[in-house]
Amino acid sequence: MKSSRHLLRAVWAKLMEHYTWLLFIVIYLITGIFIPTLFTSVTLLNVVVQGTTVCLLSLGMAFVMIIGEIDLSIVAVAAFAPLAGIFSWEAGFPVPVSILFTLLVGVGVGLFNGLMITKFGVPSLVQTVSMWWILAGLVLIITRGVAKTGLPATWMLLGRVFVGPVPLLVFFFLAVVICALIFARRTVTGKRLYLVGGNSEACSAMGIPVNTVKIIAFMISGLFAALSGYVLSARMGFISARFAVEWLMPAIAAPVIAGVSLTGGRGNLFNVIAGAYLVQLIVIIVRAGGVSGYFTEFVQGLLVFIAVMVDTGKRRVSGR
């Protein structure tokens, strides 16, 4: 009797810890009643595949939020980095090298952001907004507003090769996610991101190189932005100036919905994935629900707002 109550409480605690997943699953099931196609394996797979972009962006954003900062440049990196990668391919490098170059560009932008923010004390909001404009502007100058097409077939392997019905992309995505989770939970640097976000003064008093840790967080968000841009281009077959722009707000909303503290120190990356898919689901619902295109953004924003309010209320009740 006593042990079963204990078990119940443990289950309840786990559910509350991962309530973002609960929320996602419940909304998915309810919506599925009205839009039965949601229950077909094809649609389910589509949801997973389409969600990879926002999920990768959100994970990168979550790493920066954990140290109590923000990175708005990610959506521009998501266009600029793969574009730079494609140019390196056109310049004669083999595709694997140009993919690697894409990721390095992302990491490099993150390194520059991190250096400006830690060494010169530029607020991350200002630094990354300016980076966003600069890179988005560069992409416009380079592409003249025309989508870059003619990507090599090997570049698009991830999106075009299937294992059974499942695109290779999904496996790649899962591998990246698992690496991110292990990094955050099981490595010294991962743990230090949380500690620095929690109290950077205490960290430097205890000998943790706070600035280095912060710079690493920005390099990670740059890496994830480049990854998401690469994955998107591999799926779509082109790169455009407006590439991931629509996903900036969702990439901020997803970690917040998942309970990542904007002031730093807290955030379960596993829940961020659910947060990202929840935001993705909202988009699908709005589209499939037959809402006029003019209303899409408004309804999206409203739903995100409600989700954030519910989360705030929940955390206030539980006293966190």
Partner: protein, 240 residues
């Protein structure tokens, strides 16, 4: 043996410390008192390597020592627990206990945190000093005494020669204060390290320390054994 000789510190034309000296035998506790601006913090910063003295010498175990900075002082056996304890409130006890010196294990070529070991060692360290704590709890959910115990236990983990405690008792209840006095006395007895304690809490200083030094306006007004001086006399020395 721990002693300093004629330590002075000038900030421009302002003399913050003037020829301060003391000698402590092994294992003795020094209580450092004085009004605001008396020079306590300046002295503590010099002892912990945060400031360079303008003049004077520091001897550790009879050997003349100079600290380039705080990290250098830590390396040479100085540990410090600060006023605000330098704990991350929203992190767990064991995470705080090992922050900056995390334990790792290798799996193939990869290095991962040894979480189980850190939890176990945290628990063992706290138990060794006759205390108990749930290492899975976050710092914000434990009492002021427990925070104090964690901070001090963490500071002495590296087997320092000297432990400096800076005003860390302000958040404690009367009961908690008693507990901390007992705890620090036990730590002092078992480890035999020197402690220098800075506090406004004269009762606590009187309870705990073997020696007392009173500073006023950067000058040593009194240095002697605790039983040689009453609280009223301490106050008299402190006031101008």
């Amino acid at each position: 043996m721990y002693n300093i000789k004629n330590v002075s510190k000038d900030f421009g034309t302002v003399r913050a410390l003037r020829d301060v000296s003391f000698t402590l035998e092994k294992g003795k506790i020094l209580g450092l008192v004085g009004d605001n601006g008396a020079g306590k913090s300046t002295l503590l910063k010099i002892l912990s390597g945060g400031l360079q003295p303008t003049g004077g010498e520091i001897y550790l175990g009879g050997e003349k020592t100079r600290f380039k900075n705080t990290a250098d002082a830590m390396k040479k056996g100085i540990a410090i627990a600060y006023q605000f304890l330098e704990l991350v409130e929203i992190a767990k006890v064991w995470e705080n206990f090992f922050m900056g010196r995390e334990l790792t294990k290798k799996i193939g070529p990869l290095v991962f945190l040894d979480i189980e070991k850190m939890k176990r060692l945290t628990e063992e360290a706290v138990t060794r000093h006759g205390q108990s704590v749930d290492v899975e709890q976050e710092i914000k959910d434990i009492s002021g005494e427990q925070r104090q115990i964690i901070a001090v236990t963490r500071a002495i983990e590296s087997n320092p020669k000297i432990l400096l405690l800076d005003e860390s008792f302000t958040l404690l209840s009367l009961e908690g204060r008693k507990e901390i006095v007992q705890f620090l006395r036990k730590v002092n007895n078992t480890s035999g390290i020197n402690m220098v304690i800075v506090s406004h809490d004269l009762d606590l200083i009187k309870d705990l320390s073997h020696y007392i030094m009173v500073l006023r306006g950067g000058e040593k007004m009194f240095f002697g054994r605790t039983d040689e001086i009453s609280i009223d006399e301490i106050v008299n020395y402190m006031l101008p």
